[in-house]
Amino acid sequence: MKGMTIIVKTVSSWVKMLIVLFGIYIILFGHLTPGGGFAGGVILASSYLLIMLAFGREFVQKDLPLALDSKLDCLGALLFAMIAVLGLVLFDKIFFSNFLYLPGKEFELISAGTIPFSNIAIGLKVGASLFLVIFLLSTFRRETSANK
Protein backbone atom coordinates (compact mmCIF):
# COMPACT_ATOMS: atom_id res chain seq x y z
CA MET A 1 0.00 0.00 0.00
CA LYS A 2 1.49 3.30 -1.03
CA GLY A 3 1.54 6.29 1.23
CA MET A 4 0.09 9.67 0.57
CA THR A 5 1.59 12.92 -0.69
CA ILE A 6 4.54 14.58 0.97
CA ILE A 7 2.46 17.24 2.68
CA VAL A 8 0.46 14.57 4.52
CA LYS A 9 3.63 12.71 5.46
CA THR A 10 5.34 15.76 6.93
CA VAL A 11 2.36 16.95 8.94
CA SER A 12 1.49 13.53 10.27
CA SER A 13 5.01 12.90 11.49
CA TRP A 14 4.67 15.99 13.68
CA VAL A 15 1.10 15.29 14.79
CA LYS A 16 1.96 11.70 15.78
CA MET A 17 4.06 12.99 18.69
CA LEU A 18 1.15 15.08 19.97
CA ILE A 19 -1.21 12.13 19.82
CA VAL A 20 1.20 9.86 21.71
CA LEU A 21 1.70 12.57 24.35
CA PHE A 22 -2.05 12.98 24.75
CA GLY A 23 -2.53 9.23 25.09
CA ILE A 24 0.16 8.95 27.77
CA TYR A 25 -1.38 11.88 29.66
CA ILE A 26 -4.80 10.26 29.70
CA ILE A 27 -3.34 6.96 30.92
CA LEU A 28 -1.15 8.42 33.65
CA PHE A 29 -3.71 10.82 35.11
CA GLY A 30 -6.48 8.25 34.98
CA HIS A 31 -7.05 8.32 38.71
CA LEU A 32 -7.46 12.07 38.92
CA THR A 33 -9.30 13.18 35.78
CA PRO A 34 -11.65 11.38 33.40
CA GLY A 35 -9.95 8.86 31.16
CA GLY A 36 -8.20 5.79 32.37
CA GLY A 37 -6.45 2.88 30.73
CA PHE A 38 -9.03 2.01 28.06
CA ALA A 39 -9.40 5.39 26.39
CA GLY A 40 -5.66 6.05 26.56
CA GLY A 41 -4.83 2.69 25.00
CA VAL A 42 -7.17 3.29 22.09
CA ILE A 43 -5.60 6.74 21.52
CA LEU A 44 -2.12 5.17 21.42
CA ALA A 45 -3.34 2.67 18.82
CA SER A 46 -4.76 5.48 16.70
CA SER A 47 -1.42 7.26 16.57
CA TYR A 48 0.18 4.28 14.86
CA LEU A 49 -2.87 3.98 12.64
CA LEU A 50 -2.26 7.53 11.42
CA ILE A 51 1.31 6.60 10.47
CA MET A 52 0.10 3.50 8.66
CA LEU A 53 -2.44 5.48 6.63
CA ALA A 54 0.04 8.22 5.73
CA PHE A 55 3.24 6.30 5.04
CA GLY A 56 2.09 2.94 3.79
CA ARG A 57 2.10 -0.46 5.34
CA GLU A 58 5.70 -1.49 4.70
CA PHE A 59 7.08 1.46 6.64
CA VAL A 60 5.13 0.53 9.74
CA GLN A 61 6.07 -3.13 9.31
CA LYS A 62 9.74 -2.15 9.55
CA ASP A 63 9.13 0.25 12.40
CA LEU A 64 6.95 -1.91 14.64
CA PRO A 65 6.91 -5.48 13.36
CA LEU A 66 4.02 -7.71 14.22
CA ALA A 67 6.09 -10.01 16.40
CA LEU A 68 7.05 -7.14 18.68
CA ASP A 69 3.45 -5.98 18.78
CA SER A 70 2.21 -9.39 19.91
CA LYS A 71 4.85 -9.42 22.61
CA LEU A 72 3.76 -5.99 23.87
CA ASP A 73 0.21 -7.24 24.03
CA CYS A 74 1.14 -10.27 26.11
CA LEU A 75 3.40 -8.12 28.30
CA GLY A 76 0.52 -5.84 29.18
CA ALA A 77 -1.75 -8.72 30.14
CA LEU A 78 1.04 -10.35 32.14
CA LEU A 79 1.74 -7.15 34.09
CA PHE A 80 -1.89 -6.84 35.03
CA ALA A 81 -2.10 -10.45 36.20
CA MET A 82 1.16 -10.05 38.13
CA ILE A 83 -0.19 -7.07 40.06
CA ALA A 84 -3.13 -9.23 41.03
CA VAL A 85 -1.09 -12.24 42.08
CA LEU A 86 1.46 -10.19 44.02
CA GLY A 87 -1.34 -8.99 46.23
CA LEU A 88 -2.28 -12.60 46.86
CA VAL A 89 1.11 -14.16 47.45
CA LEU A 90 3.32 -11.59 49.08
CA PHE A 91 1.53 -8.76 50.75
CA ASP A 92 -1.96 -8.97 52.06
CA LYS A 93 -3.02 -12.50 51.17
CA ILE A 94 -6.03 -11.09 49.30
CA PHE A 95 -6.37 -11.39 45.51
CA PHE A 96 -6.11 -7.95 43.86
CA SER A 97 -5.51 -6.03 47.04
CA ASN A 98 -4.19 -2.52 46.73
CA PHE A 99 -0.88 -3.16 48.42
CA LEU A 100 1.21 -0.13 47.65
CA TYR A 101 1.05 2.38 50.44
CA LEU A 102 3.34 4.82 48.69
CA PRO A 103 4.02 8.12 50.40
CA GLY A 104 1.71 10.45 48.56
CA LYS A 105 -1.16 12.66 49.38
CA GLU A 106 -4.45 12.63 47.57
CA PHE A 107 -5.01 14.69 44.40
CA GLU A 108 -1.40 14.28 43.32
CA LEU A 109 0.12 12.15 40.62
CA ILE A 110 1.72 9.64 42.97
CA SER A 111 -1.17 8.36 45.01
CA ALA A 112 -3.80 5.64 44.95
CA GLY A 113 -1.53 2.64 45.31
CA THR A 114 -1.50 0.21 42.41
CA ILE A 115 -4.12 2.02 40.34
CA PRO A 116 -1.66 3.93 38.06
CA PHE A 117 0.27 0.73 37.35
CA SER A 118 -2.90 -1.10 36.43
CA ASN A 119 -3.81 1.77 34.14
CA ILE A 120 -0.45 1.54 32.36
CA ALA A 121 -0.76 -2.24 31.90
CA ILE A 122 -4.27 -1.99 30.50
CA GLY A 123 -3.35 0.91 28.20
CA LEU A 124 -0.45 -1.08 26.77
CA LYS A 125 -2.58 -4.15 26.22
CA VAL A 126 -5.56 -2.46 24.60
CA GLY A 127 -3.41 -0.32 22.31
CA ALA A 128 -1.29 -3.19 21.08
CA SER A 129 -4.29 -5.47 20.48
CA LEU A 130 -6.29 -2.97 18.47
CA PHE A 131 -3.36 -1.95 16.32
CA LEU A 132 -2.61 -5.61 15.57
CA VAL A 133 -6.14 -6.27 14.39
CA ILE A 134 -6.35 -3.23 12.13
CA PHE A 135 -2.97 -3.95 10.60
CA LEU A 136 -3.98 -7.53 9.82
CA LEU A 137 -7.24 -6.42 8.23
CA SER A 138 -5.39 -4.08 5.87
CA THR A 139 -2.81 -6.71 4.97
CA PHE A 140 -5.47 -9.26 4.20
CA ARG A 141 -7.41 -6.88 2.02
CA ARG A 142 -4.46 -6.12 -0.19
CA GLU A 143 -3.60 -9.77 -0.73
CA THR A 144 -7.06 -10.82 -1.77
CA SER A 145 -7.48 -8.08 -4.33
CA ALA A 146 -3.98 -8.76 -5.66
CA ASN A 147 -4.95 -12.34 -6.34
CA LYS A 148 -7.86 -11.44 -8.62
Partner: protein
Protein backbone atom coordinates in the same frame (compact mmCIF):
# COMPACT_ATOMS: atom_id res chain seq x y z
CA UNK B 1 -34.17 17.64 29.84
CA UNK B 2 -35.13 18.52 26.28
CA UNK B 3 -31.63 17.93 25.06
CA UNK B 4 -32.07 14.23 25.78
CA UNK B 5 -35.15 13.98 23.62
CA UNK B 6 -33.50 15.90 20.77
CA UNK B 7 -30.41 13.68 20.80
CA UNK B 8 -32.45 10.47 21.07
CA UNK B 9 -34.65 11.43 18.11
CA UNK B 10 -31.50 12.27 16.13
CA UNK B 11 -30.09 8.84 16.96
CA UNK B 12 -33.31 7.07 15.96
CA UNK B 13 -33.43 8.88 12.61
CA UNK B 14 -29.77 7.99 11.96
CA UNK B 15 -30.48 4.34 12.83
CA UNK B 16 -33.46 4.21 10.47
CA UNK B 17 -31.37 5.63 7.63
CA UNK B 18 -28.50 3.23 8.36
CA UNK B 19 -30.83 0.23 8.28
CA UNK B 20 -32.91 1.05 5.24
CA UNK B 21 -30.48 2.56 2.77
CA UNK B 22 -29.14 0.52 -0.12
CA UNK B 23 -25.79 2.27 -0.28
CA UNK B 24 -23.19 0.74 2.06
CA UNK B 25 -21.23 4.00 2.35
CA UNK B 26 -24.29 5.87 3.61
CA UNK B 27 -24.97 3.16 6.16
CA UNK B 28 -21.45 3.38 7.57
CA UNK B 29 -21.61 7.18 7.75
CA UNK B 30 -24.91 6.97 9.62
CA UNK B 31 -23.31 4.59 12.10
CA UNK B 32 -20.69 7.27 12.66
CA UNK B 33 -23.41 9.84 13.33
CA UNK B 34 -25.06 7.40 15.75
CA UNK B 35 -21.83 7.00 17.68
CA UNK B 36 -21.25 10.74 17.97
CA UNK B 37 -24.82 11.24 19.13
CA UNK B 38 -24.28 8.58 21.78
CA UNK B 39 -21.10 10.31 22.94
CA UNK B 40 -22.96 13.62 23.31
CA UNK B 41 -25.66 11.83 25.28
CA UNK B 42 -23.04 10.40 27.62
CA UNK B 43 -21.61 13.88 28.14
CA UNK B 44 -24.99 15.30 29.11
CA UNK B 45 -25.65 12.32 31.37
CA UNK B 46 -22.61 13.40 33.44
CA UNK B 47 -20.28 10.57 32.39
CA UNK B 48 -17.09 12.10 30.94
CA UNK B 49 -15.00 8.89 31.10
CA UNK B 50 -17.44 7.09 28.87
CA UNK B 51 -17.77 10.00 26.45
CA UNK B 52 -14.02 10.01 25.77
CA UNK B 53 -13.93 6.23 25.32
CA UNK B 54 -17.00 6.22 23.05
CA UNK B 55 -15.57 8.82 20.66
CA UNK B 56 -12.22 7.14 20.14
CA UNK B 57 -13.79 3.67 19.85
CA UNK B 58 -16.28 5.06 17.34
CA UNK B 59 -13.52 6.46 15.14
CA UNK B 60 -11.60 3.18 15.16
CA UNK B 61 -14.76 1.21 14.40
CA UNK B 62 -15.49 3.45 11.42
CA UNK B 63 -11.98 2.89 10.09
CA UNK B 64 -12.36 -0.88 10.43
CA UNK B 65 -15.74 -0.87 8.67
CA UNK B 66 -14.71 1.38 5.82
CA UNK B 67 -11.42 -0.24 5.01
CA UNK B 68 -12.72 -3.74 4.89
CA UNK B 69 -16.05 -3.37 3.13
CA UNK B 70 -16.20 -0.33 0.89
CA UNK B 71 -13.20 -1.14 -1.26
CA UNK B 72 -14.64 -4.48 -2.28
CA UNK B 73 -16.76 -4.51 -5.33
CA UNK B 74 -20.36 -4.13 -4.25
CA UNK B 75 -21.52 -0.86 -2.79
CA UNK B 76 -25.11 -1.29 -3.74
CA UNK B 77 -27.18 -3.97 -2.12
CA UNK B 78 -29.83 -5.44 -4.31
CA UNK B 79 -32.12 -8.39 -4.14
CA UNK B 80 -35.55 -8.84 -2.71
CA UNK B 81 -36.45 -10.15 0.69
CA UNK B 82 -38.90 -12.96 1.15
CA UNK B 83 -42.19 -11.43 2.07
CA UNK B 84 -43.66 -13.87 4.57
CA UNK B 85 -40.66 -14.05 6.86
CA UNK B 86 -40.35 -10.28 6.97
CA UNK B 87 -43.97 -9.75 7.97
CA UNK B 88 -43.83 -12.34 10.74
CA UNK B 89 -40.60 -10.83 12.13
CA UNK B 90 -42.00 -7.31 12.11
CA UNK B 91 -45.19 -8.41 13.87
CA UNK B 92 -43.28 -10.25 16.59
CA UNK B 93 -40.90 -7.34 17.16
CA UNK B 94 -43.83 -4.93 17.42
CA UNK B 95 -45.54 -7.15 20.02
CA UNK B 96 -42.32 -7.32 22.07
CA UNK B 97 -42.01 -3.54 21.84
CA UNK B 98 -45.53 -2.98 23.17
CA UNK B 99 -44.96 -5.42 26.01
CA UNK B 100 -41.69 -3.71 26.87
CA UNK B 101 -43.36 -0.31 27.07
CA UNK B 102 -45.72 -1.69 29.68
CA UNK B 103 -42.76 -2.93 31.74
CA UNK B 104 -41.03 0.44 31.57
CA UNK B 105 -44.06 2.10 33.15
CA UNK B 106 -43.23 0.30 36.37
CA UNK B 107 -39.70 1.64 36.64
CA UNK B 108 -39.12 4.78 38.73
CA UNK B 109 -39.12 7.99 36.81
CA UNK B 110 -36.15 9.03 34.74
CA UNK B 111 -33.82 11.19 36.83
CA UNK B 112 -34.13 9.58 40.20
CA UNK B 113 -31.00 7.51 40.72
CA UNK B 114 -32.30 4.02 41.25
CA UNK B 115 -29.23 2.36 42.71
CA UNK B 116 -27.65 5.25 44.51
CA UNK B 117 -30.59 5.95 46.74
CA UNK B 118 -30.50 2.66 48.57
CA UNK B 119 -28.74 3.70 51.73
CA UNK B 120 -27.12 0.33 52.36
CA UNK B 121 -26.29 -0.21 48.74
CA UNK B 122 -22.88 -0.44 47.14
CA UNK B 123 -23.00 2.91 45.37
CA UNK B 124 -23.36 4.93 48.56
CA UNK B 125 -20.34 3.15 50.04
CA UNK B 126 -18.27 3.83 46.93
CA UNK B 127 -19.14 7.52 46.87
CA UNK B 128 -18.64 8.15 50.56
CA UNK B 129 -15.52 6.15 51.23
CA UNK B 130 -13.90 5.86 47.80
CA UNK B 131 -11.31 8.56 48.26
CA UNK B 132 -10.52 7.52 51.79
CA UNK B 133 -10.04 3.82 51.06
CA UNK B 134 -8.26 3.92 47.73
CA UNK B 135 -6.85 7.41 47.32
CA UNK B 136 -8.15 7.97 43.78
CA UNK B 137 -10.17 11.10 43.09
CA UNK B 138 -11.90 9.57 40.08
CA UNK B 139 -14.50 7.26 41.59
CA UNK B 140 -15.09 5.33 38.35
CA UNK B 141 -11.37 4.48 38.19
CA UNK B 142 -11.37 3.28 41.76
CA UNK B 143 -14.41 1.13 41.04
CA UNK B 144 -12.99 -0.59 37.99
CA UNK B 145 -9.44 -0.99 39.27
CA UNK B 146 -9.79 -1.52 42.98
CA UNK B 147 -13.25 -2.55 44.11
CA UNK B 148 -14.13 -4.50 40.96
CA UNK B 149 -10.72 -5.33 39.57
CA UNK B 150 -11.71 -8.93 38.91
CA UNK B 151 -14.23 -7.75 36.33
CA UNK B 152 -11.48 -5.81 34.59
CA UNK B 153 -9.38 -8.97 34.47
CA UNK B 154 -12.32 -10.74 32.85
CA UNK B 155 -12.70 -7.94 30.31
CA UNK B 156 -9.01 -8.15 29.44
CA UNK B 157 -9.39 -11.88 28.86
CA UNK B 158 -12.43 -11.39 26.60
CA UNK B 159 -10.61 -8.76 24.52
CA UNK B 160 -7.56 -11.01 24.27
CA UNK B 161 -9.68 -13.93 23.08
CA UNK B 162 -11.48 -11.83 20.46
CA UNK B 163 -8.18 -10.55 19.08
CA UNK B 164 -6.69 -14.05 19.00
CA UNK B 165 -9.77 -15.24 17.10
CA UNK B 166 -9.49 -12.43 14.56
CA UNK B 167 -5.76 -13.07 14.12
CA UNK B 168 -6.31 -16.80 13.62
CA UNK B 169 -8.93 -16.18 10.95
CA UNK B 170 -6.81 -13.71 9.01
CA UNK B 171 -3.58 -15.66 8.78
CA UNK B 172 -1.79 -16.22 5.50
CA UNK B 173 -0.81 -19.81 6.00
CA UNK B 174 -4.35 -21.10 6.37
CA UNK B 175 -5.18 -20.18 2.81
CA UNK B 176 -2.69 -22.63 1.39
CA UNK B 177 -4.49 -25.50 3.11
CA UNK B 178 -7.80 -24.42 1.61
CA UNK B 179 -6.45 -24.30 -1.92
CA UNK B 180 -5.49 -27.96 -2.01
CA UNK B 181 -7.94 -30.06 -3.98
CA UNK B 182 -10.34 -32.16 -2.02
CA UNK B 183 -9.77 -35.87 -2.20
Amino acid sequence: MYIFYVLLIFMIIAAIIAIETKNLLSAVICIGALGFGASLMFLFLRAPDIAITQIVVEVLGLIILIRSTISRDLTFISGDKEFFGTVISVVIIFVIFLAGIKVFETLPEFGTAIFAQASQGASQAYIKEGLQNTGAANIVSSVILDYRAYDTLGETTVLFTAIIGATAILRKKARKVLEEPDL
